[in-house]
Amino acid sequence: MSGDIRFYGAFKDELGLKTIPSRRIAKDTYEIFIGPQHPGSGHMRIIIKVDGDVIVEAEPDIGYVHRTMEKLGEIRGWIKPIPLFERMAIHDACNITLPYVRAVEKLMGVEAPERAKYLRVLLCEINRIAAHLYGFAIFGIFLGHSTMYMWAMGDREVWIELAQELTGARLTHSYPVPGGVRRDIHDEYPDMVRRAIRYMRKRLEDYRKLFLDNPVIKSRLEGVGVISKKQVVELGIVGPNARGSGVAYDVRLADPYEVYDQLDFEIPVFEEGDALARTYVRVEEIKQSMNILEQVVDWLEKHKGEPIIHESVSSKYGPVHKKVLQEQRRAKLLPLHATMKVPAGRAIGRGETARGEVIYYVESDGGLNPYRVRIVTPSARNAIAFKYALPGHKVMDLPAIYGSLDYFPPESDR
């Protein structure tokens, strides 16, 4: 075991932030069961052992939302798992399904047309903003800051409205399909996005004043739940939680997919590793996502009328299909989608969701169903953080740490 990670008691971090000093575990500790019915949103249980009011041991008891995605993915053909896997993180739907679609595309040897790629990125970033706002809302509930809940939930509706305009559903878009996307934008859409961006930029300034710079919030978050850079690498923590600890790990940077390597944006990194840093990463990411969106809608406006689905599909279109594509900007599926076969092989699809890296290991034996789909979601990888970040803190810090990790149980339990 590497030396810096101590299992019980607080760790002294490298940056010299204030932490509770490590202490010996007294014999008369007692256990507290937190959850699955508790004030926050998390449908998980954390079993903590406390000595006085200091947590000395934490054991996340997850699996309350285990819905057997991996097993069902093996019996549902190739296209039905898209809505299925979407249910892991429905408020981040495009981000979570896109890597699976890309893995299937890789096995099939097709690549989505350029416009479809941009449209996917468009929805991905809209989802990312909405998911971060949802995270803020829940974080507000955890901290007893109900104004933040109301604000973030209200502003999230703007982005949900945009996603609904594009895909026809508020949350569960099922938008990417192997070979392309299902719908195209209409002419007024770029302006809607721009209006939303202008609104959100102004709004983030108010967020800063009301929430982030609020001394009450700061004193609850600063120096709380510190995860050091070494611990991040050792525990495999991903996403904003890793970037809040100085690890510049982002799939959009490490292994760019779709058109992310052609877009100009920053991956915000903070060195502190505490709950406040993790919160700030999310704020900065919302800003960067809006930068991406601006570039994407500019591109989409310039390249109107390009195909949104791969030739292998569109070449089989009949007159009805073509009419729908032209008039309603809706790329129809073909009956062969239900019974398609994918060449044998193995591929890994990965992408950066709002919470971090998601990995799909897809194995095909050339049949009607995937032979094996292994899913590792960011929350599943972050779950281990509870075990190692909580000890040493007071029980009152638990909601702050829990909220700052932005843990989403359905995603973690699969």
């Binding site: 075991m1 019996i75 690498v233 525990l235 495999g236 790990y249 193995r346 990965r350 290991y361």
Partner: protein, 171 residues
């Protein structure tokens, strides 16, 4: 860009494995590469890879092959900080006999990030990891975990398109 990283990572991993004298076979995927080693040398191979910079487990992937009568367990690892190989996925894995409780050494001591994932493989496939600090089901309730749901002989049936209509078809 990603392909460069993968070839660098592959080269580095091969050198690391050769330097400690572990014999391996290579299995390639579309955008990753796996090194299959002997169960007895797995821990050495893992340590060598960790020292070569692959510090984080992204997935402990187990697959059941009833036809070949084996279970394959692969640790997919990557580096989160080393810019040269950042994000490239390589795997180190073993083939286990497909018996009721196959056992293999736990790599939690090498990669702490494998802790929860090994518990998953334990509950879904029944693979026992020797030396794991806390080997118990993670997601499933204990009675279900005994059925090893992700093995291929645990069958989940799909309804067909005519099944389950509660009213008479005629009308």
């Amino acid at each position: 860009m990603a392909a460069d990283k993968l070839s660098t990572a592959r080269q580095r991993a091969e050198e690391a494995l050769k330097s400690i004298g572990v014999s391996y076979s290579v299995e390639e995927g579309a955008n990753f590469v796996e090194f299959i080693v002997d169960v007895a040398r797995l821990k050495d191979a893992a340590l060598a890879l960790k020292n070569a910079g692959f510090g984080t487990v992204v997935s402990v992937t187990a697959t059941d092959y009833p036809k070949k009568n084996t279970i394959k367990v692969v640790y997919h690892v990557t580096s989160m900080i080393d810019d040269e190989v950042k994000g490239a996925i390589i795997g180190v894995g073993v083939y286990l006999p497909r018996i009721d409780k196959p056992s293999m050494p736990s790599l939690t001591g090498v990669w702490l990030s494998a802790e929860f994932m090994e518990r998953e493989v334990f509950e879904f496939f029944g693979v026992e990891f020797e030396g794991h600090p806390d080997l118990k089901p993670l997601l499933l309730i204990p009675p279900l975990a005994e059925k090893r749901p992700l093995r291929k002989d645990f069958v989940v049936r799909e309804e067909n398109i005519y099944e389950g209509v509660p009213f008479s078809n005629v009308g």
